[in-house]
Amino acid sequence: MSEKPLISVRDLSVHFGLRGGGFGKKPVVRAVDSVDLDIEAGSFFGLVGESGSGKTTLGRALLRAVPITRGAVTYDDGEVRYDLTTIQKAELKDYRTRAQLIFQDPYAALSPRMTVRDIIAEPLEVMGLTRTREETDVRVRKIAEKCRLNLEHLRRFPHAFSGGQRQRISIARALVSKPRFIVADESVAALDVSIQADVLNLLKSIQQEMGLTFLFISHDLSVVAHICDHVAVMYLGRLVETAPTRQLFAAPKHPYTKALLSAIPSLDPDDRGKTQKLEGEIPSPTNPPPGCKFQTRCPVAIDICRKQEPKLDHAGNNHNIACHRWQELLETDTK
C-alpha cells in the first residue's frame, strides 16, 4: 500500500475526568491512550477489541466529536488538509461535510415525525449545501436510489420500515453530503444476518463506487473478516495489533487477538466449552496495570510484561504488534 493516509493519528489520547473518588486526585479514564494509526484513502478499515477499550471514543475523536487530550489527528484528502486538534470553526464546518457517522441503532436514530425524504435531506439543509428545494430533491433521490429506496419510500415515515430498510435510510442520510470518510460504529449489530449481509454488500459497493474510506467498528469478527481490508485491535485504550485482514485472521500474533479469535462462537453445537477462556482480572481504565495492559489476563505473560510497556513493533507487511513475546511465540505456534 503506497497510498497516502487519509487519516493519520499520532500519539492520540482522549481522557475523561470522573466524579467522586474521594480525596486527592480525581480519577481519569484513559479511554484512548497514545494511539498511532494510519488509515489509507479508499480502505475499509476495521476496528475491533474489548468492550470499553475505546473504539467508539477513537471513532468520535476522528470526527472531532470528543475533545482531544493529547496528540494529533490529521485529515488529508488531497483537496484539503486539516489538523483536527487546532481546527477552526469554519474549517470544522467543512470537515463535517467530509466526515460522517453512521449510527448504530436504526430505530433510535430516525425521527418518527419526519418523512424519509426529510430525514435524508436534513444534513443538506443544516449544512446549507443546496440552495433550492429542487436541488435538494435531486440529491436526495440520487442517494436514495443508490441505497435502494424508491420514491414511494421517500414519502413514508420511518416506523413503517423494517430494520434493514431503516439502516439503508441512515446510510443514505450519512452519504447525502458526499463525505469522503465514514465512521460506522456497530452499524450492522442490530440487524439480523440476512439483512446484515445485504447492508454490508451495499456499503461495500457504495464504497467502491464513491471512493469512500471507512472506519468500521464492530464486535462481529466474521463480519470484519469479510468486509474490511485492514484491521486494528484495541485493548484498554491501546492498539495491540494492526494488520491486513487476511493476515490477521490467518496468523494472529498478539495473545489478546488470539484469545479474541478463539472465542468466536462456533456454529457447531458440539464445540461447546472448546473456546479458550481468558482468566484473570479485567483491569480498570482508571487504574491500568503497569507494563503491558493485557498482562493481568495474558496466558503467556512473563516478568518483563509486568514492568515494561511493549511498543508497537513493525513486523513487516503492514503488520504491527505490541507484545514483548510475539517473536518468541511464533516458534511455539508453529510447533
Partner: protein, 332 residues
C-alpha cells in the same frame, strides 16, 4: 424437566395511525425449568413484542387475541399472566419471577439516576433486602459480569459507560433478583466475544444453580449453537420452525431458516460472497396471505403458498416446521 412456561396462541395486534398491525400471530411454545430457548428471526418479526407480552409490558395500543394463554408455573402454583391487570397483580412477575434484559440498554436506565441506585431500588422493591445488603449484592453482580472497578461504576450514570458496560450492567441488574424466567433480548450484541463468553457462562451457572429458564433472543446463530437447548424461528409474527438446537442448525427445514444460515459470514472461506435472502420483509401492514414468507421464498409452490397458511409438521423428533413443502400429502 419441570414445566416453567406455556404460551398458547399468542396473538398481538397494535392500533396505529396507519391501521391495525399484526405483530404476533398465533404463536405457541413451552419452556422447561433450566431450559434455554433461542428465539431468532428477521428484524421486525415480533421477537421483542413476544418477549414483552410475557410480562405484559407492551404499550396501551396493544390488543391481545382472545385465545391467548400464557401460564407461568411457579412453586406456589400456576400464574395466568393474561389475567393479571393491576400493577399490584403484576408485581409477582415483573422483576420478581421474571426478569428482562432489554434490547435498548440506554432506555432501561433512567438518565438522571446512577446505575447503583437503580439496582438497589429494584432489589428493594422485589426482595426484603436492606439497602446495605442490596448494595453489596449489586456490586458483586457487576463484578461477576466482568465490570472492573465495580464499586466506582456503581456510582456512575449510564451515559458514562461504554455500550458493552451498559449492557453488562443491565444483565447484572436482571440477574440480581434471581428470577425463575430470564428473558434476554439481544443481551450480548454490544459485547466483544471474550466478554460475551464470560457473560454466557454466568447465565449458564445461574441456570444450573436455580433452574432458571431463559428465552434468549439473538440474531447470532453461533451464540445459539453454543448456549441454547432449543430454537424457535420467527418470521413476520409467526413461528416457522422450532426444535432442538442441533437439529435446527444442522438440518434446517424451513426455507427461511436455511436462508438465515446461508447468510452467515463464514470464517473459513473469506472469498465466498455474502448471500442475503433476497427482498425485504413486507411491512406488517401488508402481510402476505398464505405463508408469510412466500414473497421471498425461492421454492414457493404456486397457488398453494400464496393462499393457505401452512400448519406445523413434524420432521424429526420435537422438530417442527410450518411449510407446505413438508405438509404435502402428509395430513397430521
Amino acid at each position: 424437566m419441570n414445566r416453567l412456561l406455556d404460551v398458547e396462541n399468542l396473538t398481538l395486534q397494535f392500533d396505529t395511525d396507519e391501521g391495525r398491525i399484526t405483530a404476533v400471530d398465533n404463536v405457541s411454545f413451552t419452556l422447561g425449568a433450566g431450559e434455554v430457548m433461542g428465539l431468532v428471526g428477521e428484524s421486525g418479526s415480533g421477537k421483542s413484542v413476544t418477549a414483552k407480552s410475557l410480562m405484559k409490558l407492551n404499550p396501551d395500543n396493544a390488543i391481545y387475541g382472545d385465545e391467548t394463554k400464557i401460564i407461568l408455573h411457579l412453586d406456589g402454583g400456576p400464574v395466568d399472566i393474561m389475567s393479571l391487570h393491576t400493577s399490584s397483580d403484576l408485581k409477582v412477575i415483573r422483576g420478581g419471577a421474571i426478569s428482562m434484559i432489554f434490547q435498548e440498554p440506554m432506555a432501561s436506565f433512567a438518565p438522571a439516576i446512577t446505575i447503583g441506585n437503580q439496582m438497589v431500588e429494584q432489589l428493594q422493591i422485589h426482595t426484603d433486602m436492606t439497602a446495605k445488603k442490596a448494595q453489596e449484592l449489586s456490586i458483586e453482580m457487576l463484578a461477576r459480569v466482568g465490570i472492573s472497578d465495580a464499586s466506582t461504576r456503581f456510582k456512575q450514570f449510564a451515559f458514562e459507560l461504554s455500550g458493552g458496560m451498559r449492557q453488562r450492567a443491565m444483565i447484572a441488574m436482571a440477574l440480581s433478583t434471581k428470577p425463575k424466567l430470564l428473558i434476554a433480548d439481544e443481551p450480548t450484541t454490544a459485547l466483544d466475544v471474550t466478554i460475551q463468553a464470560q457473560v454466557i457462562d454466568l447465565m449458564k451457572d445461574l441456570v444450573s444453580e436455580f433452574g432458571m429458564g431463559i428465552i434468549f433472543i439473538t440474531h447470532d446463530l453461533g451464540v445459539i449453537a453454543q448456549t441454547a437447548d432449543s430454537v424457535a424461528v420467527m418470521y413476520l409474527g409467526r413461528l416457522v420452525e422450532q426444535g432442538p438446537v442441533r437439529e435446527v442448525i444442522r438440518t434446517p427445514a424451513h426455507p427461511y431458516t436455511k436462508g438465515l444460515i446461508a447468510a452467515l459470514p463464514q470464517l473459513d472461506d473469506l472469498d465466498v460472497p455474502l448471500t442475503p435472502i433476497p427482498g425485504d420483509i413486507p411491512s406488517p401492514l401488508e402481510r402476505p396471505p398464505g405463508c408469510v414468507f412466500n414473497t421471498r421464498c425461492a421454492v414457493a409452490i404456486e397457488g398453494l403458498c400464496t393462499r393457505e397458511i401452512p400448519l406445523f409438521t413434524q420432521v424429526a423428533q420435537k422438530h417442527q416446521v410450518a411449510c407446505h413443502l413438508y405438509s404435502e400429502g402428509d395430513d397430521k
